[in-house]
């Protein structure tokens, strides 16, 4: 299964970005192979509709679960429709590595 985590940078030491649609990068982790790759969130620059555009980006990468700080009203129903699970990470500084460990 592929898991996407919203990230502030493109290394596992970067922190989790609390914003879903406007994060800079997504870490995409494959729970079967334990490979992680970082993709640029091309949706972040959109003046409007960044959330839905980010959902499309992730769906195109066969992501089945997303970890982020919060999911907006526009984004939730779309993720649900696509059967992509949402995991809310409550406040606190987490690095991408911290999150990845949870999946191992």
């Amino acid at each position: 299964m592929k898991v996407a985590i919203s990230a502030t940078g493109d290394t596992v030491e970067s922190s989790v970005d609390s914003r879903f649609g406007r994060c800079s990068f997504f870490a995409i982790f494959d729970t079967d192979t334990h490979n992680v790759k970082f993709i640029t969130n091309t949706a972040a620059e959109s003046s409007q509709g960044a959330g839905p555009a980010a959902v499309q980006l992730l769906a195109g990468n066969q992501v089945q679960q997303v970890v982020s700080g919060e999911f907006g009203m526009k984004v939730k129903p779309l993720l649900e429709q696509l059967s992509i699970k949402m995991l809310n990470l409550q406040n606190g500084q987490h690095t991408i590595l911290d999150v990845l460990k949870q999946f191992k």
């Binding site: 949706a43 959109s46 409007q48 509709g49 960044a50 839905p52 555009a53 959902v55 499309q56 769906a59 195109g60 066969q62 526009k74 779309l78 429709q81 696509l82």
Partner: protein, 298 residues
């Protein structure tokens, strides 16, 4: 009155609701009417227009404001993604792998590009969606109130506000009662103005809203001045701010129960009090003298 400028447009705005923005715009409107200007008040607070409760007037016309939105017939769609590529507003949600396609109505600008993109397949047709109405009221010939009213549940009032402002032609002076806040409808409104009157209260809340509005207006290069309403409440911080930022204090309206009562009863202060009428006119003259020269719009 030799400083009359054709179509001079003043927006009356405040960061939040409840500072007396409508009180100012309706009294300015009433004063200008008394001084024989052809004046139009445009109520751009389209979610909750209320200026007419003070001005009255007879309804002369109502115009429906609509937008074309695309509707996708999924039985004809081949999931080619062409419409998605054509849309520059992120308003088409498309995931090829999941065969999922959706129009995101609140992002759609009704440009029609997706319908063109889909011509070979004919899966998209357009339907007309109501956004709201623009209502015209006449007080006396040449003195009118235009009301923008967004339909309940519509996400953005920008288009309705734009239509309302556009329909306020043929006046010497146009007064715009701006929507609260500093987001799109506010920007849309003040963008059409030659001068912006910011109404604030001398409280910490009022101050932070004022600063935000001033910043936004400076960014847009719009000249503005400030009215302190309910003066005497709160602190003097606002006056220090005005002088350090070199912002003109246009009027100081004291906190006064009798003024508050006139307003809460739906009446106009300038209708009942000649002194205030004169003050509003003086303010108008000052604004046009200083900022009316460069007026080159309409």
């Amino acid at each position: 009155m030799n400083n009359k400028k054709p179509g001079f447009t003043i927006a009356v705005a405040s960061g939040k609701g409840g500072t007396g923005k409508t009180f100012i715009s309706t009294n300015l409107f009433n004063t200008l009417q008394k001084y024989s200007y052809k004046v139009t008040l445009v109520d751009c607070d389209a979610e909750e227009p209320n200026a007419r409760q003070f001005t009255g007037g007879k309804k002369v016309s109502t115009k429906l404001v609509t937008q074309l939105v695309p509707v996708i017939d999924e039985s004809k769609c081949v999931y080619c993604g062409k419409c998605f590529e054509y849309c520059t507003y992120n308003a088409i949600f498309f995931v090829k792998e999941a065969r999922m396609i959706r129009v995101l109505d609140d992002l759609c600008h009704g440009c029609g590009a997706c319908t063109v993109a889909c011509e070979p397949y004919g899966a998209i047709h357009e339907k007309e969606d109501e956004l709201g109405t623009v209502n015209h009221y006449e007080i006396t010939p040449g003195v009118t109130v235009v009301e923008a009213r967004t339909k309940v549940g519509v996400h953005s009032s920008v288009k309705v506000v734009k239509e309302a402002i556009r329909s306020a032609y043929d006046a010497d002076v146009v007064v715009l009662d701006s929507p609260p806040g500093t987001s799109c409808p506010f920007i849309q409104t003040v963008a059409s103005a030659d001068f912006v009157v910011l109404v604030t209260e001398p409280t910490p809340f009022g101050m932070s809203d004022l600063k935000q509005s001033v910043e936004t207006l400076r960014h847009m290069g719009k000249p503005c001045g400030v009215i302190v309403n309910r003066a005497g409440l709160g602190t003097n911080e606002v006056y220090d701010y005005l002088s350090s930022e070199q912002l003109p204090l246009l009027m100081n309206i004291p906190f006064d129960r009798s003024i508050a009562r006139i307003y809460s009863e739906g009446n106009l202060l300038t209708e009942q009090d000649d002194g205030w009428q004169m003050q509003f006119n003086l303010m108008y003259n000052l604004i046009t003298e200083r900022y009316g020269i460069s007026c080159n719009k309409w």
